[in-house]
Amino acid sequence: MSSIRVNPNVLPDLLSALAQTRQQESTATLELATGSRINQPSDDPAGAAQIVSNRDLGSQADSFLRSITNVKTADSTLSSVVTALQRAISLGVQGANGTLSSSDRADVAGELSGIQQQLISLANTSYQGEFIFAGTATTQPFVSSSTSSSGISYQGNAGTNSVQVGSNYSLQINQAGSQIFSAAGGDVFQSVADLITALQTNSGIGNAVTAVRGAFDHVTSQRVFYGNAVNQLNAQQNYLNSEKVDLSNAANSIAGADIAKTAATLNQAEVALNAELAAMGKISQNSLFDYLK
């Protein structure tokens, strides 16, 4: 008779099985609690490295989106400038009417002075403390000047700024104020000032109105730049928003815990744990000694 002798002390085996089951249980609980199956790099080294890059791209997309909302302001300012110039043109046309008395023309000139002030104020629009038509200078761009024929001189510079709104995608976000308001053949302040003078002196009103039209056309053409920029920013905003959704989906598929599966694992671990504990309660309670009288 020869039979295989088994290890009489099974306790260490059971203890190690128990420890393993408890480990499974705590891992599954942690996954359920955090909703993530990567709670430390060793849970999935490659996944953890992907998450680093995913988070970095997500943070970048967020910051591009914030940049976009910060630069979409100049267009509405220019639309007010255009409206003001339209009003100046219609006032000029009205003033050119020969039936107007000199006091009527003085009233029109007075209203135009108001428009001139409004235009100066629009040209000095600031956003978050910075003048948006000053080029890359930080000083107030349009100030009164006794030496300038229009009474206004440009204190900004011709510089422009670009903002990165995507990886390898930068967009010029401003035009120098001098290019918008003081271009040759389209000088806003000069033409309005000339119109005021023409109305006051009742001479050359028609030519002055034509000059204001020229300024109007110039500002309108400059608006196209901002319009294009806004269009591109909107397109980029849409792209970034969908990229963020993609990134968050990717993050979820890399690290997201499969809740149903994890819950099942937890359940299995609990069942196994109970079985192991029951087995441990029973082993080595009995030996032949118990039956010998």
């Binding site: 009489p8 910051s63 940049s67 910075e130 080029g135 890359t136 510079n157 510089g159 032949l288």
Partner: protein
């Protein structure tokens, strides 16, 4: 009749001894490393009288310990592997906690720095946004330097563990040498040394857990060396290991004047040394590369533009040493005035032209051919991979060890069922022998009293 009497008496004596062996087995049912003993009975030489041969009973020839020396060596080897892997995994798990991506790690701070630059580009003269960049830069610097400092203190802790393990090794080798002597002394007198052999197996097991051990058996003694031949125990002589700090302050292990540190690659010491001398230093080198790369790139970007005062930009980060050594631990922001960030490319305060040079660092592949974020990702991968593959190996080795222990248990372990069975058997044999003595006694009495009545 005389021979029967003699035989029965020998049986009484022998069965009593066998019962003693059972008692000792039962007593040691929970003793670690105990090998069960089995009585071996032998028939006494018979007496030949003319044509008749009479048996003279039984004697206990041997109480042999049931053990498998080869298996024991396998267990010791696997214990060494287990000791190494568990020390390695424990240490690397502590390292890993420095790199958990839970929001304030290096990767997050790196992204935050570039996000702050991107914000500044929309309003380059804003002091608040400039302050945002400085804060993000200093968060990144402190995140990197804290991580590097923590790694260094972990290295120091491991160093302490190395010294303690060496002390334990020395204690164990001395005990083994002593037990070797006791075994030799007993075996020279042809006495049973199995209790000491069990004890020695336990001690060698503990030693294997600490350091790699190979065994050479000579007669009754064993000699122990590391797998590279560093002597630990030769017979009754133990060779003490000593420690001496190297120039960087880390303890090196010496045996008889030779530095054997790099040769120890199993056991707890092997695991500790691998993390202390290889893993942590290589992580520190990577962190230094990252810190020096970021510091130098940002300083260069700042120098290529003009600050809010129209001056050429100065260093944003404290410039690291040219070698990069200590760059991570010493990483810090060099400026406190937000106006000193050189956002402008032409000297005008509202220009953001130079910020593109900062943003470009995000995609610059000068960190071992990777972008800073990917470089950090690779770092995370290598740490996670070390812990995860170490844990898997440890579990596998645990299973092997468990199987070997089971095998040892199946050979040497005390089974109470068996002992109970043996107990009954020896008791019955004793009872029967006593009955024989009684019977012979009665017969002798009958003989003596013959004719007196």
């Amino acid at each position: 009749m005389d021979s029967g009497y003699y035989a029965a008496c020998s049986a009484l004596k022998t069965q009593t001894s066998a019962l003693d062996i059972v008692a000792n087995n039962v007593a040691n049912v929970s003793t670690a490393g105990y090998s069960r003993k089995q009585p071996q009975f032998g028939e006494n030489p018979p007496i030949v009288l003319g044509q008749l041969t009479f048996g003279t009973g039984v004697s206990l020839e041997n109480a042999a310990s049931i053990r498998d020396p080869i298996l024991q060596i396998r267990i010791q080897q696997e214990t060494g592997t287990q000791g190494e892997l568990s020390a390695f995994v424990n240490a690397m798990q502590q390292v890993q906690t420095q790199f958990n991506n839970q929001g304030n790690d290096i990767g997050t701070q790196l992204s935050a720095l570039f996000a702050s630059i991107s914000q500044l580009s929309t309003s380059p003269a804003s002091i608040a946004l400039r302050q945002g960049v400085l804060t993000a830069a200093s968060n990144l610097a402190s995140s990197i330097s804290t991580t590097a400092n923590n790694l260094e203190s972990q290295q120091a802790n491991l160093d302490l563990s190395v010294t303690q393990s060496v002390d334990q090794v020395n204690t164990l080798t001395q005990q083994i040498a002593k037990v070797n002597g006791q075994i030799a002394a007993l075996e020279n007198l042809h006495q049973d040394a199995s209790a000491f052999i069990d004890q020695r197996d336990v001690l060698v097991g503990q030693l294997s857990n600490l350091i790699d051990v190979s065994q050479i058996k000579t007669e009754s003694q064993i000699s122990l060396t590391t797998s590279n031949g560093t002597a630990l125990v030769a017979g009754t002589q133990a060779f003490t290991l000593t420690t001496q700090p190297d120039p960087s302050g880390l303890e090196h292990i010496f045996s008889q004047g030779n530095d054997v540190t790099s040769q120890l690659n199993s056991g707890q010491l092997g695991g500790l040394l691998q993390v202390r001398d290889h893993k942590i230093p290589s992580l520190l080198v990577s962190l230094n590369t990252l810190a020096a790369g970021i510091s130098n790139s940002f300083n260069a970007a700042n120098a290529s533009g003009f600050d809010l005062n129209g001056h050429q930009g100065a260093d944003i980060f404290v410039p690291p040493a040219a070698s990069g050594a200590g760059a991570a631990a010493g990483m810090a922001v060099a400026i406190t005035d937000p106006a000193l960030i050189a956002a402008s490319s032409d000297g005008s305060a509202g220009s953001n032209g130079n910020l593109a040079n900062f943003s470009a660092i995000h995609d610059q592949t000068t960190f071992n051919g990777e972008t800073p974020s990917d470089f950090y990702g690779s770092l995370i991968f290598s740490i996670g991979n070390d812990v995860s593959s170490g844990s898997i190996e440890q579990q596998a080795s645990q299973l092997v060890l468990q199987q070997l222990q089971d095998q040892r248990g199946s050979i040497s372990g005390v089974s109470l069922d068996e002992e109970a069975g043996n107990l009954v058997q020896y008791q019955r044999a004793y009872d029967a022998a006593a009955r024989v003595v009684d019977t012979v006694n009665q017969m002798l009495e009958t003989l003596i009293n013959m004719g007196t009545t």
